[in-house]
């Protein structure tokens, strides 16, 4: 064997070992989620234990966590927020690029500046305004509105760059001559052309909002409106002695994302890179 192939084999071996290390925690929780509580502590590494492996944990965790309702809440919050973010940010960016009004330039600068403000700095005033003054906590709408507000600067920034760089104004002028108003021009001509940016933003925000914990946990304090991360955190608190149920709950929280990832892997990876590099 030449030195080259030895090196190649060695690299592959290292990659496989690292891969196993990265996957190990997932393997462990899946394996143990099918076991009896005592077998989890006594024989955590083996397949099965004194009692046979069972899916009973999942049935119980599903019920106790109120999984369907929680899943639905997460879906509503993430889905509505992402749709509104895409719609309103793209419209806003469009007018910012095409109309050089003073207010547009000022607002765009303000948005860019605001991107350095971390969530923790506005967290306390946010709760004091929306909880104390408006009494608007515990509604999914409030959370959706806040997700929109927090996502606007970055989304506007990305659409802004794309429109300025890649959408020729001549198309819009032609539409205008043909008698299309600004709304029609935007939705029929400009918006379809922005698919790459839209895809990136949908992926970034779907992941981020689905996993978000801190903001939802402050806004949604009623069982009926819990999202998945909040439910998992409470489930852990309630069942910290029942590893069997907790592990099943954790696996159920991960499965939707993994399925999505397996289906859209190429797009997700491209989207995440595009999002990071542009910002």
């Amino acid at each position: 064997m030449s030195g080259r192939t030895v090196k190649g084999v060695l690299k592959t071996v290292v990659a496989i070992l690292l891969f196993l290390f990265y996957m190990f925690p997932f393997y462990m929780i899946v394996l143990n989620s099918f076991k009896d509580k005592r077998d989890i502590t006594k024989l955590p590494l083996s397949w099965g234990g004194k009692k046979p492996m069972t899916a009973q944990n999942y049935v119980e965790a599903f019920k106790n966590m109120n999984f369907l309702s929680v899943f639905k809440n997460s879906l509503i919050v993430t889905g509505c927020s992402v749709a509104l973010i895409i719609l309103f940010s793209s419209m806003c960016a469009y007018i910012f690029v095409r109309k050089a009004w003073k207010i547009n330039n000022f607002l765009f600068l303000l948005m860019m500046f605001s991107m350095v403000i971390p969530f923790q700095v506005v967290m306390i005033p946010l709760i004091s305004i929306y909880g104390g003054i408006f009494g608007a906590l515990n509604h999914r709408y409030t959370l959706i509105f806040m997700h929109l507000g927090f996502s606007v600067p970055m989304s506007v920034f990305m659409y802004h760059g794309f429109i300025r760089g890649s959408i020729p104004i001549s198309l819009e002028e032609a539409a205008h001559i043909d008698g299309a108003g600004p709304l029609r021009t935007f939705f029929q001509i400009v918006f379809p052309l922005m698919k790459p940016t839209t895809a990136t933003l949908v992926i970034l925000y779907a992941l981020a909002l689905w996993n978000d914990y801190l903001l939802p946990s402050l806004i949604l304090t009623d069982r009926k409106v819990y999202t998945l991360p909040i439910a998992i955190a409470l489930f852990q608190g309630t069942y910290s002695n029942q590893m069997d149920l907790l592990l099943a709950g954790l696996v159920m929280a991960i499965i939707p994302i993994i399925i999505l990832y397996l289906a859209l892997q190429k797009y997700i990876i491209a989207g995440v890179v595009a999002g990071a590099v542009k910002s």
């Binding site: 007018i95 547009n104 929109l148 995440v272």
Partner: protein, 294 residues
């Protein structure tokens, strides 16, 4: 008349297109930000209507608060170690999978998986690994440093926090480094080799300087994320044992929502933000100066 019409038209267009986004942005970020600065001048308890004006007392209290400074110190240590290790590991992973190995897409996808999952779930998963799996392995294989749960002593719990951070973020940074590595044209690499460079020398002297912008991005992202880390801190150690791993974001949260000292909590949030901004921006500026063009 005509002029008036255009103005009315313009206002209408502005409201339709920018209205909703600007309203949400103002209501959620700008107004709370300004209101937050006002809050630092009051001693609000979070419940009563009254927000007594106290001037700069919160700033004095925040500076005198030993707990805050020790959590800030711990956060700085955590950020320094995590940022270096996350980026080293992320970069090495990128080198590994862009090298000529089979199934590199498969590895790439695998290393990125931890990033898809929220900090809360990741924290609980690792809590199980540290508390049950590693202790079991330690006791059965007689490995001394694993026999007691890492989460039960302050130093090992802090290390556990860093291990999980690396595991979570390195795959993300790997993706950005891959984009940087493959962005450097193959011709340059070839030319360097014809001039007598070895593979490693070409990477060190040609590719690395040209992908410095990837380093700027990755450092910026890891610094800002690590400074503000909360979910993993909460789910993995919950600040324990005995409050020894309370990082700054959690300290601020507890100050406001647990101790009900909203004014002091908000003041500390702003101090934390200023420190993060200084570190992140100066890093970006220094790195930008060192970037070179092909």
């Amino acid at each position: 008349m005509n002029n008036k019409n255009t103005t009315a038209n313009n206002v209408g267009t502005f409201l339709i297109f920018a209205g909703p986004a600007v309203l949400a942005f103002m209501a959620v970020i700008i107004i709370p930000f300004l209101y937050g600065i006002y809050l630092t001048l009051t001693s609000w308890d979070g419940i009563s209507k009254a927000k007594p004006f106290v001037g700069l007392a919160n700033y004095v209290n925040a500076f005198k608060d030993a707990g805050f400074w020790s959590s800030l110190g711990l956060t700085l240590l955590y950020v320094a170690i995590s940022v270096v290790l996350v980026n080293v590991v992320g970069f090495l992973l990128a080198l590994l999978v862009t090298g000529k190995i089979r199934g590199s897409n498969f590895f790439r996808a695998g290393f990125f998986v931890p990033n898809l999952i929220g900090g809360i779930v990741l924290g609980y998963i690792w809590q199980f690994i540290f508390k049950t799996i590693l202790v079991y392995v330690g006791q059965n294989a007689g490995i001394g440093f694993l026999q007691k749960s890492w989460l039960s002593t302050p130093v090992t719990a802090f290390i556990a926090l860093i291990v999980v951070t690396i595991w979570q973020l390195s795959g993300y940074m790997m993706l950005i480094y891959i984009a940087g590595l493959t962005g450097v044209s193959e011709d340059l690499r070839e030319a360097a080799k014809i001039d007598g460079c070895t593979e490693n020398q070409a990477t060190r002297y040609i590719v690395l300087p040209l992908m410095r912008s990837s380093f700027t991005i990755c450092l910026f992202l890891t610094i800002t994320r690590c400074f503000m880390v909360y979910d993993i801190n909460l789910a993995l150690t919950a600040g324990g044992p005995y409050g020894s791993t309370v990082l700054a974001a959690m300290y601020v949260y507890d100050k406001a929502f647990v101790s009900k000292a909203y004014g002091v909590g908000q003041t500390q949030a702003i101090i934390l933000f200023v420190i993060t901004a200084i570190v992140a921006v100066s890093q970006a500026v220094i790195n930008k100066r060192m970037e070179v063009e092909a």
